[in-house]
């Protein structure tokens, strides 16, 4: 019985320790920003294009949340892609957003189409982004 009391107290102490950590109640610890980004990097400014017009893509629902983009066209050219909604469901989605969304934007601006490679490991995010983008392109052309 003495042994049991000892184990019980040690276990309770361990649990108190564990539960005093912030993630133990369902919270996530935000990602640490790399040093160069310590100054809040301004959101990619909506490129001001003379005569540019913006078209919103469809909101794409996936198991990780919703993704929607806004495309700025300068004539026929894709001048910019901004993200209106992105995956939020779990911590790893946020990591993948940071990683994949800028990369996708670069590729799209270069290729001037939604037909670019998905980012490895972020397939769902990429597909949703590109689908939303494609719907915006289609809409722009049918206007």
């Amino acid at each position: 019985m003495r042994k049991i009391t000892f184990f019980l107290l040690a276990t309770i102490a361990g649990l108190v320790g564990l539960f005093s950590y912030r993630t133990s109640f369902g919270e996530a610890v935000p990602q640490a920003r790399p040093a160069e980004a310590a100054t809040p990097s301004p959101a990619p400014p909506p490129t001001l294009v003379a005569g540019g017009r913006t078209v919103d893509g469809d909101a794409i629902f996936t198991e990780y949340g919703t993704v929607q983009v806004r495309v700025t066209f300068a004539g026929e050219r894709i001048a910019d892609v901004a993200v209106l909604q992105k995956h939020t469901v779990h911590e790893h989605s946020l990591v993948l957003n940071e990683l994949a969304l800028p990369q996708l934007r670069e590729q799209v601006l270069q290729a001037q189409s939604a037909e670019v490679d998905t980012v490895s490991g972020a397939t769902a995010t990429s597909r949703a982004y590109l689908d939303s983008l494609q719907s915006a392109i289609d809409r722009a052309h049918t206007r």
């Binding site: 049991i4 276990t11 369902g26 198991e63 990591v95 990683l99």
Partner: protein, 461 residues
């Protein structure tokens, strides 16, 4: 021809109960597999860069489900106990335990490798990131370590070195490990975060398991102990290190214990009272008294043997399926070795049989170790049972159910045919040390007794 003097009970060997519980268990695995499928599992498995993480999810889900089943297998739910018997449940628990542990290990490796690959991070950095930042992951890491500890201690080589009581105490950490691993599933698992139905299902299942534990491992034993108020009436020394404990109590007919069953006993002596011992009833249970007989091994045996009259007793049970319910025919052979006589002694008294339909073979290492012999003789004389005592050392160099003396003259199965008339038609109930039971079972099979007529329980501690 045996006239129909008494109705034999319908064999209640639990086939239906086993089928139903096994089907339910399989259904829970199918549900998690369906969850994974509905989220596009197989497609994501092939997709660029998400294969590892998708496989990790499947292994994690199945591992968690098996952890749940393992808890339920040990929850002492009465109808599950009746269907399977505690010995088989313990073996299933062990099998599920090791399987789920390896699935869990695969889950950890796959998640870390998959996330590391997709974010271009080192494996160790990714592991640290997961544990430190993701919700519920510190708990899950602690839970994993507890489960790893429990599994390591349960590997046979390690288990032999730890005293049972200590091993059992540490094994309880598995509950904590399982519970600590649960939150991260609900907070990070995409299925549970996005689908309220899946989330509700998971909560229901785990809530149900926790409730079953509370009711059947804690509530019911306490309630039974209170209702029957068993106390130590007398501890009687039988032979060398064998003792019988007589336990008067109230309304024991309501306990519905049957001959051949065992209970888990906690004698509330001072220090060490919390240690529970499973011992068979060594006489047919009466409405006002139970009795168990045990071999006092170790210091805890001395504590039990020294229990003062009036000591309160907590019980769990009754457990075990080595009862008349397994019986298929009229003729019976009981075979006991050593302290394995206890349930056979209860069956000898409590079974239904007519003159000369029952034979008891009782093996012991010496005539002095044939405990309970006087009462066995008395019952046999009254009921017309045949008793064959086989005292003597076992043969050197081979494992046999016989004494050395008989083993010189007969093969194992020949001895059986010589000793027991009409052997092949009998139901045989076996109890003794596991190697002895294995030898006896082999001899019975060779002598033509069908496997379905051989009844035993194998506890492997």
């Amino acid at each position: 021809m045996t006239p129909d003097r008494f109705p034999l009970p319908r064999p209640r060997d639990g086939v239906l109960g086993r089928a139903v519980t096994a089907a339910l268990a399989c259904a829970t695995v199918l549900v998690v597999a369906a969850l994974w499928l509905s989220d596009g599992g197989p497609a994501a498995l092939r997709a660029d860069g998400t294969g590892l993480v998708t496989a990790a999810r499947l292994t994690g889900l199945v591992a968690a489900d098996m952890l749940l089943l393992q808890v339920l297998a040990m929850a002492r739910v009465p109808w599950v106990e009746r269907a399977w018997g505690q010995d088989r449940l313990a073996r299933i628990h062990r099998l599920l335990g090791f399987t789920s542990f390896w699935l869990m290990a695969a889950h950890v490796v796959l998640v870390v490798a998959g996330y590391a690959a997709s974010t271009d991070t080192g494996v160790l950095a990714q592991l640290a990131d997961l544990v430190v930042r993701y919700p519920g992951m510190l708990l899950a890491a602690a839970g994993t370590m507890l489960l790893a500890l429990v599994v390591a201690l349960s590997v046979r080589a390690a288990r032999r070195r730890v005293r049972y009581e200590n091993w059992h105490l540490l094994h309880l950490y598995a509950y904590l490990g399982v519970a600590l691993a649960l939150p991260h599933q609900l907070w990070n698992g995409a299925h549970f975060v996005t689908s309220p139905a899946a989330c509700a299902y998971w909560w229901t299942l785990w809530g149900g398991a926790a409730a079953a534990l509370g009711v059947f491992r804690i509530g019911r034993p306490l309630w039974l102990s209170r209702r029957h108020r068993l106390t130590v009436g007398e501890v009687r020394h039988e032979a060398s290190d064998v003792y019988s404990v007589y336990l008067p109590g109230r309304r024991l007919d309501r306990l519905a214990a049957r001959p051949g069953q065992f209970l888990t006993w906690r004698l509330r002596t001072g220090r060490g009272w919390s240690r529970a011992h499973p011992f068979s009833l060594s006489e047919a249970p009466r409405a006002d008294r139970l009795r168990f007989t045990f071999r006092a091994a170790g210091d805890d045996g001395a504590r039990l043997a020294g229990a003062a009259p009036g000591t309160a007793v907590l019980i769990e049970g009754p457990f075990g399926t080595l009862t008349e319910g397994r019986r298929r025919g009229e003729r019976v052979l009981l075979m006991a070795a050593g302290i394995g006589i206890t349930p056979m002694r209860a069956l000898l008294e409590g079974m239904r049989y007519a003159d000369s339909e029952l034979t008891l073979i009782y093996r012991a290492r010496s005539a002095e170790e044939l405990v309970l012999r006087d009462e066995i003789d008395a019952i046999a004389a009254e009921r017309g049972a045949q008793v064959i005592y086989l005292p003597g050392p076992p043969p050197p160099g081979r494992i046999s159910w016989l004494t050395a003396e008989l083993a010189e003259r007969y093969a194992d199965h020949e001895a059986l045919t010589h000793l027991v008339p009409e052997l092949s038609g009998r139901d045989v109930f076996l109890c003794g040390p596991p190697p002895w039971m294995a030898a006896a079972r082999a001899a019975l099979r060779l002598a033509g007794v069908p496997a379905r007529q051989i009844h035993d329980e194998r506890f492997g501690w």
